[in-house]
């Protein structure tokens, strides 16, 4: 029986795994697997923003797409509490069964330039999900699209224009309007402001925060920019080579991380204040491990300044070390790590 453990959660992801096969040679023989997402657990509390961070290739996009079933997981559960109060394991549904649930979870993409069809007008782009979901009356669609455009700060008069007539920030607003067309409850945003200039980035972040308040949305917010993540997230989840290494409230994770990788990430973020230059630099050496052949034990051990013998041999598991604080590190309880000073 599918079940949500905590009634505050709208979504619970359990043991989520996604392997991409690596095939080689003339006969396309299977030679290995990219372990893009490797036994990952996390949940979304209704109404919150969970920031998902980690370096390039660590599996953020794959994990977030699994949540929408835009990618089919290899194994694991994605338990979702639907608007009628039932709980379904989305990982086990076929495409017909998924249909009604898809409305409730929508996506905002990174690249406002390539994610919009250049030959469609705003009306068609934002109205498409409505049409597909049975709003066949044109006037009704027009009205809803105009409402959505107003909601994201665009003028409804622009409805007949094509995407090329809009700036990057405006295109991102179009993408947001489209994602909101079907009144979703959860929005997965994959690097939604990464391609934008700073002045425009701020406008879009503010818009996302306003919409969340107004529409009681739950966000899964994927980004590699920790400053942006800090701004918008209630909680933060950190991934490293397909694994979840730490989850905690934004305040706690930034003030005092429990995983050495989180500490290293925080330490590497440049602070926009020349008076706060770090006198002593503790930067990570080496490079991210290859997810097709991850190291033994803790995947972070070859780069970890605190690694001991056990780290080389035994995989740590994600454990709740304090209420609401999850970390996957053998030494989490004894280490005294530094976050960002106030």
């Amino acid at each position: 029986m599918t079940q949500i453990d905590d009634k505050n959660n709208i979504l619970e992801v359990k043991n989520l795994t996604k392997y991409f096969p690596i095939k080689s040679g003339f006969f396309k023989r299977l030679v290995g697997n990219v372990q893009a997402v490797d036994d990952v657990n996390f949940n979304l509390i209704e109404g919150e923003t969970l920031g998902l961070v980690g370096e390039s290739g660590c599996g953020k996009t794959t994990a977030s797409r699994c949540v929408l079933r835009a990618v089919d997981p290899t194994s694991g559960e994605i338990n979702f509490r639907t608007s009628d109060g039932n709980t379904v394991d989305m990982a086990s549904l076929n495409s017909r069964e998924l249909r009604p649930i898809r409305k409730e979870i929508q996506m905002i993409f990174q690249d406002p330039f390539s994610s919009l069809n250049a030959r469609m007008t705003l009306l068609d782009i934002v109205g498409e999900p409505l049409l597909v979901n049975g709003v066949s009356n044109r006037d009704e669609r027009l009205e809803r699209v105009s409402e959505l455009l107003t909601l994201v700060g665009l003028r409804p008069e622009y409805m007949q224009r094509y995407p090329h007539a809009f700036s990057g920030g405006e295109r991102q607003r179009i993408g947001i309007a489209r994602a909101l067309a079907l009144n979703p409850r959860v929005v997965v945003a994959d690097e939604p402001v990464s391609a934008l200039d700073v002045s425009v980035q701020a406008q879009v972040i503010n818009l996302l925060m306003d919409l969340q308040e107004q529409l009681k949305l739950t966000y899964l917010f994927v980004a590699h920019d920790l400053s942006v993540v800090k701004q918008i997230s209630d909680r933060v989840a950190v991934m490293y080579v397909g694994k979840m290494v730490e989850i905690a409230s934004t305040k706690k994770i930034f003030e005092k991380p429990l995983h050495p990788y989180t500490e290293a990430l925080l330490n590497a973020v440049p602070v926009p204040d020349p008076r706060k230059r770090k006198s002593e630099k503790k930067h990570l050496s080496g490079e991210v491990a290859n997810p097709a052949s991850p190291p033994s034990g803790c995947y972070f051990h070859p780069r970890c300044p605190y690694a001991q013998d056990i780290c080389k041999t035994t995989k740590p598991t994600l454990e709740e070390v304090q209420p609401g604080r999850f970390v996957s590190c053998h030494r989490a309880k004894e280490l005294d790590l530094t976050g960002i000073a106030k």
Binding site: P274, R275, I340
Partner: protein, 338 residues
Amino acid sequence: MNDKEKLLSVEDLKIHFPTDEGIVKAVDGVSFDLEAGKTLGIVGESGCGKSTVGKGILNILEKPGRIVGGSIYWNSDGNKVDLAAINPNSPTMRSVRGSEIALVFQEPMTSFSPVHSVGNQIIEMIMLHKDMNKKEAKEWAMELFDMVGIPNASTRVNNYAHEFSGGLRQRAMIAMAISCEPKLLIADEPTTALDVTTQAQILDLLQELQQKHQMAMILITHNLGVVAEVCDDVSVMYLGRGAEKGPVDSIFHDSKHPYTKGLLESIPSINSAQGERLKSIVGTIPAPFNRPNGCTFHPRCPSSIKGVCDTYTPKYLPLNNEEKVSCFLHHDPEKEVV
């Protein structure tokens, strides 16, 4: 800073691209100077002309780009040459490009040829500009690989660019750029495509090389955090023009131009509180052929003065020895407007 100490001094530089649709004034009045061993940051949002300034200094502009005004004084061992005035193909310009000023590009993938090994490309570059035979050049290349932190130099020199990760590729780019021991390194978004941890490594490396070799650096970036971490001076650009320049501390703590203030307020900082709304600059950057009259920033400026900012173009004038600003809040419009 007196004239003798200046390594580079750019004055009212203008670079235009005449196209079928009209003239793109990519750089339209930028001035700054740089002392030996110091780091200047050039910041501003996409399309404001940062890369064009970088390429303009070496006069390697893409067609139909052309320097149409201003000067670029380069102090080559006490000889002052105006790089803007000499033929881009002259021997002087070639020698400046090869051995005095080096450039690290925004896109490391396109900077190496895919059909030759990275090592061979660096070796060729060394032999072209230094008096070394192949064997010596190879040894120097391996030494450079070590210097920039590429492990297993002896096997790595035989690798092709696609066999390198993003971080290693950027290190190789830097190795090539410093192979001729330049006095000035122009780094155009050297870390933009990289993860924060790799970015931190590359910035450390650049600073270390700089200290060791007394090399000056121009760091082109849109990341204000990076600027705050490594630059001595900053030049802020908006729509091809210098908005403001000054020491890094005054730019971040006592900025004069409303655009700089707006930029600083727009960035979420790792130090700022969660859930706070950011202040943002209203509107968007105008298209190249649609530049506003007067101060090009006036439609977005919260302090714009009616009848002045929308009518007259502010000059880029010094405030004191160190700072320059282009804004009527700091210059008397009466005196400037004729």
